[in-house]
Every structure is written in C-alpha cells, then in structure tokens.
C-alpha cells in the first residue's frame, strides 16, 4: 500500500469528526498540509488561480529568504566571540559556536509559539494558521545573543497571546508579533536588550555561565556602533561601512549583515512575496532622513552607514513588508514605507533612550497603516466623485 493511500484510508478517519482523536484534528491537519500538497485547491473551472500556493508555501519563501541572514548571523556570533577572546579558530568553528548559541533560541521560540497556536486552534477546532512559522524564526534572529531562553519564552508567549490570538490569529493582528516580542523584551528587561554587554557572547555557547575548561571572557564590554551613535561618541571613520555591510560588527543575531539581508530581499522580490514598494520606500525614507541629518551634523553617520548599521535593513526587508500589518493600497505602501524609514532614523538619532529606532518605527507604522489606507481610499473616492460631478 502506498503511503499516501495508507494515510488517507487508515489515519485520516481517526481525526475526522467522530474519530478517536477528533480533538487533535487541528494538529493533524497542520502536519498533513505541511507535508503534502493541499487536498483542496481551487476548482478547475472559471476564472481562478489554480495552484497549490497557500500561505504555508508563501511563508516557506520568507523562511528561505531568512536563511542567508541567519547563516551569516551565526558565523558573526562566533566571530565576535573570538574577537573578544583575542583568538581565531577558523570560520567553521566560529559558525559552529554561533549555531550552538542560536539553535536553542529557535527551538524555544517555535515550541512556545506553536504550542500556544495549536492549543488555541484545537479549542476553536480550526486549522492551525501558518503565520507563526515565519514569526518563530524571526524572534531569535532579532534578539541579542546573550538573551536567556526563558526571556524568549515569556516574550513569545506574550506576543502570541496578546498581539495575535486576541485579535483573531494569523491575518488579523494589528502589530507584527515578532516585533512585539522584541518590544516586550525591550521594555520588560531593558538591561538584557541593550547596553554594552549583551551583544557579544562571552560564556560558553550553550549557557551564559562559564563552564570549566572552556575559554571565556567575563564582563566583556564593547559598545555597538549604534550605542555609540546614541551617546554621541560615534566617529564615522572608525566604523568601516564595509564591516557593517558584510556583517562583522556586534549586534542582534541576524541583523548585522546587510549583504545577506539583501540576498533574502532579492528572493522575496523575485517571488513577489514582499512588496517592492514598501521595501524601496523604507530605504528611500531612511536615506533621505540620514542625508538631512548628515548635512547638519558633523559626526553623524553617513547615509550608507545609517542604512547598514543596526536593524534598519532587517526591518525594511522582513518587518515592514509583512502584508498583514502593512498598508494594502499602492499609494499607501509608499507613504507607509517612507514614514517608517524617516521615523527609524529620527528615533535612532534624537532619542537617546532608544539606540535603535527601526523596531519602534515599524510598530508605529503598523499602528498608522489602517489610517493611511483609509485616507488613500477616501481621497480616491472624492477625486472620482469630483470627476463625475464636473
């Protein structure tokens, strides 16, 4: 008997209504659609798109696009660790160190988030929505490498419940859940989220406490370039733009390498998963604002540095383009992107309390997105009404 037939005939009825595991149908269904081609595609007649691209496959694209940034990020974790120790044990060991530090965070974030989502789906007897597959990978990528696992668990639970399920789950949320996680961590445990000591792993890869026999540095402290921007000690000459572009600077795990992020951006744009209007206008807005600031202030970072430092590129490519929380209208997308770009740089430069503005800017943009859409739609209606009445 073929595997497919076996599943359809023997296992399927167990989970259908009246079956033995009726209550676990949501979980079964989520694995089934994840592993096999969806059972129901659009009917083969009429004007419809006939294919099996559902949101699971769209989100797999986002995950693929995140891979380069994650790989470079992992290597960079090990590289920064080696720099702090003053040793060099080769790129492979550095990557391995980063992998060991990064992987538990991914596991925790997926386990907590998917656990809650599946529990809620089972309660409502709905399909498990796919949205968290991307969110669960985004969360560990945007936290500092020294973040304890329990913090990630608490923050993920908070954001899945209060930023997503409360609003009705995937597709209904107002704010980007991954950024809510980051914002929660930022406000709840500010010491673990910013400052000099959290961005470089100094203990062993698995846990923070030094293990006997392993080389560790304790109390390593080095300002990230963004922290230097925030407290006014930034010197555009000492921080090489190339380092920031390639990603060998300290920062949150996967946002350091602008190059890797741009690779992911290409994939998203080619497959048309992300909106190029939003992505481009965020970069344009950011460049515009940094050019203005650089023109008036001597030791402000240059435009290229502004775009490469911190989480700006990551937010522009992966956060702002989230189709659920962003603008829907095309004109709105330009406004939304420009707004986020400008605000990110403004917050970064003028609010010393927040070294990085990209997170706040995108959340603010999320809050404004419905308003922008409303204005665009209404102005279009009144324009056309005028044409009719004239």
């Amino acid at each position: 008997m073929k595997l497919n037939d076996y599943i359809n005939e023997k296992i399927d009825p167990l989970f259908q209504k009246g079956g033995k595991y009726e209550k676990l149908w949501s979980i079964y269904d989520s694995f089934h659609t994840f592993l096999f081609v969806p059972r129901h595609t659009a009917a083969r007649k009429g004007v419809q798109v006939h294919d099996s691209v559902d949101s699971k496959r769209v989100i797999m694209m986002v995950i693929l696009a995140l891979v380069p940034a994650a790989l470079v990020g992992m290597w960079n974790v090990g590289y920064q660790h080696d720099l702090a120790l003053g040793i060099n044990d080769g790129w492979f060991m550095q990557f391995l160190y980063g992998l060991v530090a990064f992987l538990p965070k991914v596991v925790v974030s997926y386990a907590v988030g998917l656990g809650i989502e599946m529990a809620v789906a089972c309660m409502k007897r709905e399909e498990v929505a796919e949205g968290f597959l991307a969110t669960g990978l985004l969360i560990p990528m945007i936290v500092p490498v020294n973040t304890p696992l329990w913090m990630i668990a608490v923050a993920t639970a908070f954001s899945v419940i209060f930023a997503k399920e409360i609003f009705g789950g995937t597709g209904m949320n107002i704010f980007n859940p991954a950024l809510i996680t980051r914002a929660f961590l930022f406000f709840a445990y500010p010491k673990a989220m910013s400052g000099d000591e959290v961005f470089v792993r100094t203990g062993s890869a698995l846990c923070n406490s030094p293990i006997e026999g392993t080389a560790v540095v304790d109390g390593f402290s080095g300002a990230t370039p963004l922290a230097a921007v925030a407290d006014g000690t930034f010197d555009p000459v000492t921080y090489s733009t190339m380092d920031a572009f390639l990603g060998c600077i300290p920062g949150s795990i996967a946002e350091t390498s602008t190059l890797a992020i741009l690779l992911g951006a290409c994939l998203l744009l080619v497959t048309r998963v992300a909106s190029w209007r939003i992505m481009c206008s965020v970069f344009v807005g950011g460049a515009l604002m940094s050019a203005i600031i650089a023109a008036f202030s001597e030791n402000a970072p240059t435009v290229a540095q502004q775009l490469c430092l911190g989480g700006f590129a990551f937010a522009a490519v992966f956060m702002a383009t989230d189709p659920v929380t962003g603008c829907r209208t095309n004109t709105g997308k330009y406004i939304y992107g420009l707004f986020i770009g400008v605000m990110a740089i403004l917050i970064r430069m003028f609010n010393t309390g927040y070294p990085e503005g990209a997170m706040m800017a995108v959340l603010l943009g999320n809050a404004c997105a419905p308003l922008i859409d409303y204005c665009v739609v209404n102005s279009n209606i009144s324009k056309r009404a005028k044409r009719v009445n004239a």
């Binding site: 608490v154 929660f184 406000f187 709840a188 445990y189 500010p190």
Partner: protein, 210 residues
C-alpha cells in the same frame, strides 16, 4: 420594593455591575496608582470613603438642591470631602500621599463619583445611597487591588514592599527572580484590566456585546 433592591445595590457593583470593568469608569487612576499595592489600597479606601459620604450627603440634600445648579453642589460636596481625605493622608501616611501625588485630588473628577451622584444619590434615600456608594467604592478598590497585586508581584517581585518572589526563587536555588519591567508600565495595567474584563465576560455571557 426597597427591601428587594438593597442587596443588589451593594453587591451588584462588586462584580456584575463593576464600575471599572463593566461601566469602564475611573480607568485613568486605575492605570496610574496600581504600580504598588500600598498606594492602590489607600486610593481604593479614599475613594470608597469619599463616594459613600458624598452619596449620603447629596441624598439628604436631594430635595432641596435646585436642579439647575446640582452639578456645582455635587462638586462642592465632593471637593470638600476630597480635601479632607487629602489632609488626613498627608498627616498620617505621608509617603503614600506623595506616591499618589495628584490622583487623590483628581478623585473630584473621577467619573465613578459624578456617575453615582447623578444616577443614584439624587433619586434615592440616604441608606440605599450609602450602600451604593460603599458597593461602587469597594468594587473599584477590588479591581485596583487585583491589578496592583499582579503589577507589584511581577514588576518588582514584592507584595506591600515585602520581597516575595526573589526570596522564594532564591531558596529553591535558582538565580533569583528578574523583575519584569513591563509590569511597572501603565500599558501592563491596561492589559491586566483587559484580562479581567475578558474573564468576566467569559463567565457572564449576558455582559457580552451583541
């Protein structure tokens, strides 16, 4: 008929018709004074006293107050009571009074007060008015107390300033509890209030919006 109303007048506002989570009044102070339990408790008691006395006084005067100037009369009564409470707090619990800052004075503008005076005291006898004032005040204090307990416990790891969580976790041999700064922010109070409302609506389906 008055006998039938009495228990409802007092117990209704405690939960099923709670001024904070059902009528959604007095939210500002519920967000502002609930970081620590002590100020929240004092605030709850202050409001209960002011509301009970104001209700009784207005109810006694209700037939002599000209309708056109009733709001001003209510304000005078409430303001006098609030100043009394404020002076007592300053005299006996100065640190709490400082922590509460303007929010004691702002009891004057608390929506629960004006709401109860207008809706109940002006049309009822003094004794039911007293019960209504006490019920609403205690209902408000209850919500404040729940919110403040959660916020102080998770935000500072303490209850009434007594170190609870850190001590407990330390004895078990862990690193100790790390305060969750989020709970000290007003946003956390809003989310906790939301959760209380959520729980209450789930228990009482007739309160749900259609």
């Amino acid at each position: 008929m008055a006998n039938e109303k009495k228990p409802g007048v007092f117990t209704g506002p405690l939960w099923t018709n709670n001024p904070v989570v059902v009528q959604v009044l007095g939210i500002c102070s519920a967000l502002a004074v609930t970081t620590q339990m002590k100020p929240a408790l004092v605030m709850g008691i202050s409001l209960t006293c002011v509301l009970a006395f104001a209700n009784v006084i207005i109810s006694v005067l209700r037939n002599t107050i000209p309708n056109r100037i009733r709001i001003i009369v209510q304000l005078v009564v409430v303001a006098a009571l609030v100043i009394l409470v404020n002076q007592i707090l300053k005299a006996y619990v100065y640190d709490v009074s400082k922590a509460l800052s303007v929010y004691v004075g702002l009891i004057i503008t608390n929506c629960i007060l004006m709401g109860r005076l207008e809706a109940f005291a002006l049309g009822n006898k003094p004794f039911p008015a007293l019960l209504d004032g006490l019920g609403n005040g205690i209902g408000y204090a209850l919500i404040l107390f729940i919110t403040a307990t959660l916020r102080e416990l998770f935000g500072s790891g303490t209850l009434f300033g007594y170190d609870v969580l850190a001590r407990f976790v330390n004895e078990a041999g862990y690193d100790g509890y790390q305060n969750c700064g989020f709970f000290t922010m007003p946003a956390a109070a809003l989310i906790i209030l939301g959760c209380i409302i959520w729980y209450q609506r789930a228990k009482n389906p007739d309160l749900q919006d259609k």
